[in-house]
């Protein structure tokens, strides 16, 4: 079987860098220890090897499809839903009293990474079910929880989130799905939702849709949106009956073809009942709880696809003989055996770029997951700080792997030459699969607006101050080692440049030029993401260096030395790109604001 993940890298991040076992000192996680985390990771890898990876290519070749009102998906979807329900993994993050496992988010993310590396079309089915059940559990009344959550956590019923409509994608304020009170506590739901991942298939008895809709007479805009539980089949006595939710189609996509993406019609026959979750008009706020988790999950999906692609291109480079190395004097010995392409510096550059992007992404995603745990179960006095850090880093943790992962896989595909373009090798599938991650759960543009327009300025910049403190702590730890001092200085300078650029942009916000403030938010995202990942790389390198000098090694010395080498690569090849971003962001010319250049794109 092909290698699709480095378990050593995952163990390094989870244990040596983030010290997962320290979470076990908090009451919520006291039933766990390091050994149970290790067994969980190893068991997930075993399952991924045995069940998930073997269907990775098959799900692409035999995609989800719509036929005669039904959605057909690969049978492994049914197997995974059943296993995840029985195993307890759908309810892994839930409280014990809801039948959950109270697993830390950090470990949950590590397990998701393994599964996503093996087959990125599968984990969404269980992940969205868990997310939808989580929303009901967090904001729904007890009767609603009792009715739906147990069957969702057992994998018998699937769950989805229904936001997008044909006329309302990124702009949720324009949704028109309606909810009319029936007088019995339920609502009549009417409308259409598109791009509903995992929205219907034959391997679940029922689907519980979490639907955003407007109650009759609700205020315009996002303030008038409420959240409803709308099952495909509603409960009637001891059985189920149709709830007038029609599956109208399955979108055929360029990637993630095994992950069905449905078009749902609610209330075509005026017989679709929904039940309000929480309070009316607060639906979007509730949904964002799920969205934030989903954004981290999408970042994980992207990082995982790019990770699997890195291992595929690495294996190819190690095996493919092509050309000869240039000898001193610039000549080649044409009589010598061909060298494997991994010996060519430009191929090594591409592989190191892949490694720097993927391992950096995984590191930040695990860091964000740890902040999630600390914000919920850590010391009371620190929880708000960790929550702010998570809020600030979420758009970056979603966007960097999604965008840079594409570049990473593109380089991997390049390593395979013409074979990279062929279906004989998996690179072309990875290249197609990752593309969606920069689109769903908020496009890169939306994430960038969120980062600059909301998160950087939230609480008067408090979250940014917390992040700066984390970066400074890492710089100071790195300065203990002469070998790392130049990189610590480079990150210190980059962090200052980031601060200067924020101050420059804030002037526009403060003077009322809001459109100008956020016009180049995507460039800002690129800038800040690059600095944040430099922070993660310096942190990893410092941990590696500490292991090397203290003779306390979980892995062999080469593992740690390679970590430091990849950090040096990132600081030489990637971090300098912030100069370009800064130059653009400080340039006073405004070339994209419509009123000033109406005709240029006419």
């Amino acid at each position: 079987m092909a290698n699709y993940i480095s378990m050593d890298n995952l163990r390094f991040v989870v244990h040596e860098m983030l010290h997962a076992e320290k979470l076990c000192s908090f009451p919520r996680y006291q039933d766990y220890d390091k050994e149970s985390f290790d067994i969980l990771m190893d068991s997930t890898k075993d399952y991924a090897d045995k069940v998930m990876y073997p269907s990775f290519k098959e799900m692409d070749e035999d995609p989800a499809r719509y036929d005669d009102g039904k959605i057909y998906v690969h049978p492994v979807v049914g197997e995974v839903m059943k296993y995840a329900g029985e195993n307890g993994s759908i309810g892994a993050l839930f409280d014990y009293d809801l039948g959950g496992m109270q697993l830390p988010h950090l470990i949950h993310s590590a397990l998701a990474h393994i599964a996503q590396c093996a087959n990125n079309s599968l984990p969404g089915y269980t992940g969205l079910t868990a997310g939808a059940a989580g929303l009901i559990a967090s904001f729904g009344e007890k009767a609603l929880i009792d009715k739906y959550v147990p069957n969702m956590l057992s994998g018998k019923w699937g769950g989805t989130m229904c936001l997008t409509e044909p006329q309302a994608g990124s702009s949720l304020s324009d949704i028109t799905t309606s909810a009319s009170p029936s007088g019995d506590g339920s609502y009549q739901i009417k409308g259409q939702k598109i791009f509903i991942s995992g929205g219907d298939h034959e391997y679940c008895d029922n689907f519980v849709h979490l639907v955003l809709a407007r109650i009759d007479g609700a205020p315009a805009g996002t303030r008038g949106i409420s959240l409803f539980v709308v099952p495909k089949h509603r409960i009637a006595g001891d059985g189920l009956e149709s709830n007038d939710v029609i599956t109208a189609g399955d979108f055929q996509k360029m990637g993630q073809k095994g992950y069905c993406t449905t078009h749902l019609v609610f209330g075509e026959n005026d017989n679709c009942q929904g039940w309000l979750v929480g309070t009316e008009h607060r639906g979007l706020k509730y949904m964002f709880q799920m969205m934030n988790g989903a954004r981290i999950d999408v970042g994980l999906t992207a990082a995982s696809i790019a990770t699997a692609a890195y291992h595929a291109s690495l294996q190819y480079a190690q095996e493919r003989p092509q050309g000869r190395r240039i000898l001193s004097g610039g000549v080649k010995n044409v009589d010598a055996e061909q060298t494997t392409i991994i010996k060519h510096p430009d191929v090594r550059r591409m592989l190191l770029l892949q490694r720097a992007i993927t391992e950096g992404s995984v590191s930040l995603l695990m860091q964000a997951s740890l902040y999630h745990d600390l914000s919920q179960a850590g010391p009371e006095e620190d929880r708000e700080r960790y929550h702010d850090l998570l809020e600030l880093l979420t758009p970056i943790a979603k966007t960097y792997p999604s965008e840079m992962g594409q570049i990473s896989i593109s380089n991997g595909l390049q390593i395979l030459g013409g074979y990279g373009f062929c279906t004989d090798f998996p690179l072309e599938q990875y290249y197609r699969d990752i593309r969606i991650t920069a689109l769903y759960e908020g496009t890169t543009g939306i994430q960038s607006l969120d980062l600059l327009g909301r998160k950087v300025v939230m609480k008067n910049g408090e979250a940014m101050k917390h992040l700066t403190k984390e970066i400074i702590d890492t710089i100071q730890a790195a300065e203990n080692y002469d070998e790392l001092k130049p990189y610590a200085a480079q990150l210190k300078n980059a962090s200052k440049e980031l601060q200067d650029t924020i101050m420059h942009l804030l002037k526009f916000a403060m003077s009322g030029e809001h459109e100008r403030f956020i016009a180049d938010a995507t460039i800002f995202m690129d800038f800040m993401s690059t600095v944040v990942h430099a922070w993660q790389w310096l942190k990893m390198a410092t941990v590696a260096k500490t292991a090397l000098v203290t003779d306390n090694k979980t892995f062999d010395a080469a593992f740690y030395e390679n970590k430091i080498h990849t950090m040096r690569f990132y600081f030489k090849y990637e971090l300098p790109k912030i100069s370009s971003c800064k130059t653009t962001l400080l340039n006073d010319e405004t070339l994209t604001i419509p009123e000033e250049h109406q005709s240029v794109l006419a």
Binding site: S36, G88, M101, P321
Partner: protein, 246 residues
């Protein structure tokens, strides 16, 4: 039925093997360990199947230090009821067999299961030694096993075919591929494992009968030779003349 399953800790299959102490010891630095697959996938799972069909208990036993608790925990997560760890830094096959035999005698087990070999030293010795020490029959390389009352019918692979053996309990068995199918511990099992009994007992004194003189790695594999797909004559000549496999 009381079933005892002996489990070993072995380096992960991707480990780069090297030696230390003048090539007399395996260099453990940076090595990731797993439960020996023959113990886990076949011996343990078949024992659990027997317990599930006929009742009883499954105990796992390991000879080693506290570092081995991780693989013992995995065995408990898969479904064993309890575990014994003989607290010793290891030793020869004879030393390990002695420790296991002592515990097996004390526990009066109906069957003692081993994997057919460990994937590190490939000795395949301990099961046979334990059966001798317990004065029990030993059926090695079992690929299928059915129970009827106290009688087991066991298939074992032999050169060019298969042998069917009938044996009454108590007996010792070594498990080969086919005896059972790998079970992956589930999340609830992993949580429960932490609460299952792990009894740590001291080792008994043993007079070692043999010592390791040295280890050596096999010769490095030579580079690949690429032969044009159209040039079958060259391929045949190489396989005949150089590789000497045809």
């Amino acid at each position: 039925m009381k079933l005892l399953v002996c489990v070993s800790k072995t380096p992960d299959t991707t480990t780069k093997v090297s030696f230390t102490d003048g090539d007399t010891a395996f260099d453990t630095q940076g090595v990731q360990y797993i439960m020996n697959p023959y113990d886990e996938w076949y011996a343990l799972v078949r024992a659990l199947e027997l317990k599930e069909s006929a009742g009883g208990t499954v105990t796992i036993i390991n000879v080693g230090t506290a570092d081995n608790d991780a693989i013992i925990r995995k065995g408990l997560a898969i479904g064993a009821d309890d575990a014994i760890r003989v607290d010793a830094a290891g030793g020869s096959a004879y030393f390990v067999a002695k420790q296991i035999a002592e515990q097996a005698k004390a526990g009066s087990y109906d069957m003692v299961f081993f994997g057919k070999e460990t994937i590190d030293y490939n000795g395949s010795q301990i099961g046979a030694m334990v059966s001798e020490m317990l004065d029990m029959p030993f059926i090695s390389y079992a690929t299928k096993m059915d129970m009827a009352g106290n009688t087991a019918t066991i298939a074992r692979d032999i050169e060019g075919g298969q042998e069917i053996v009938e044996v009454d309990t108590p007996f010792v068995l070594s498990a080969a591929k086919g005896l059972a199918e790998q079970r992956i511990p589930n999340m609830r099992g992993i949580m429960q494992a932490k609460r299952k009994p792990l009894n740590v007992v001291p080792a008994v004194a043993v007079d070692e009968k043999a010592s390791i003189v040295s280890y050596a790695l096999p010769p490095a594999k030579s580079d690949c030779r690429y032969v044009d797909a159209e040039n079958m004559d060259e391929l045949v000549a190489l396989l005949h003349g150089e590789a000497k496999v045809i």
